[in-house]
């Protein structure tokens, strides 16, 4: 029934129905925002990315052939946009370092520690440390870990979104956990 509703909504959107677009946005805005937030770890950037995702959905809905689930397609767009955003941010940081080397004394951008609003109060501190460690993981491990732990997707769903096998996801998760464990232990050693 749900899949049928989804198909009808998509068909209506393809015909340019604005109310269908509104329904789609309201249905998937939290999912998109949450995924973007897990990757970029900044509320404003996540909102910006979520908007970009829906702009792309509106403009290129005709390219969606229905070979995968609509949510899978949305996840892929969100991840691509979030990673693109991250790369741009890194480039800007590198450029800022170069500018600094040449004596430009522009204001330094201070990146605050990220606190996910969905984490319970008693776990906020350790979750903030974990998010910092997640941001240092290699791209694939970071995506797999975020999709599984922050978005609550199963390994099967993660494999569909990332277009890899389930055993690849298991391997990515295993490596991500090991790397995070090492990173967290180093952090606690340093601050004790």
């Amino acid at each position: 029934m749900l899949v049928l509703d989804e198909r009808i909504l998509i068909e209506q959107l393809k015909k340019g129905d604005e109310s269908a677009f509104r329904t789609i946005v309201e249905k998937w805005q939290d999912m998109t925002y949450n995924t973007a937030l897990g990757i970029v770890q900044n509320a404003e950037d996540a909102e910006d990315i979520a908007q970009e995702v829906f702009v792309q959905v509106y403009q290129s809905i005709n390219t969606f052939k229905g070979e995968s689930k609509f949510s899978t397609w949305l996840y892929r767009i969100t991840i691509a946009k979030a990673l693109d955003h991250e790369r741009r941010k890194k480039r800007k940081k590198r450029f800022a370092v170069i500018k600094k080397l040449f004596g430009d004394t522009g204001e330094e951008v201070v990146v605050p520690d990220f606190e996910h609003p969905g984490v319970t109060f008693d776990k906020k501190e350790s979750a903030a440390i974990l998010f910092k460690a997640i941001s240092q993981l290699p791209e694939n491990q970071r995506i797999a870990f975020t999709l599984h732990k922050v978005d609550g997707l199963s390994y099967q769903e993660v494999s569909e979104v990332m277009e890899v096998t389930i055993s690849s996801v298991e391997s990515l998760m295993h490596r991500a956990k090991n790397n995070l464990k090492k990173s967290l232990e180093n952090y606690y050693k340093y601050y004790q």
């Binding site: 999912m31 979750a127 974990l130 922050v150």
Partner: protein, 122 residues
């Protein structure tokens, strides 16, 4: 030893701190902000196009392209003119050859004309 186990415990706790995490939601009126962005994007299409074609690289590439097209057109025109001239020369030559060959044939005919032979015998 105790310190190490304490660190490992803390790391494990941090690793499990995302268990039971709730999905984050964007600020209210997300759809309103989104439609405003879509409208802004639609208005900016011509501005973006203007900005795109006025980029130095794009402008330079366009000028180069036009110059190449002009040069190609010029060479083609030259070739066409040369071809036409060659054609004309050929025609002139042909007509001249026709005239010459006709004259020569006439002379031969005149020499071998039986009437002329009779006139010679006489």
């Amino acid at each position: 030893m105790t310190q190490n186990s304490n660190i490992a415990k803390k790391a494990e706790e941090a690793l499990n701190s995302l268990d039971g995490i709730q999905r984050a939601a964007p600020a209210p009126y997300f759809y309103t902000r989104l439609t405003a962005r879509l409208e802004r994007n639609n208005k900016n299409i011509w501005e973006n196009f203007g900005a795109f074609i006025s980029r130095p690289t794009v402008a330079f590439a366009t000028v180069c392209f036009i110059l190449i097209l002009n040069t190609m057109a010029l060479f083609k025109k030259d070739a066409a003119v040369k071809f036409a001239i060659t054609d004309q020369n050929e025609q002139i030559l042909n007509s001249a050859y026709d005239v010459a060959s006709n004259t020569a044939n006439n002379t031969i005919l005149t020499i071998w004309n039986p009437e002329n032979e009779q006139s010679i015998e006489k």
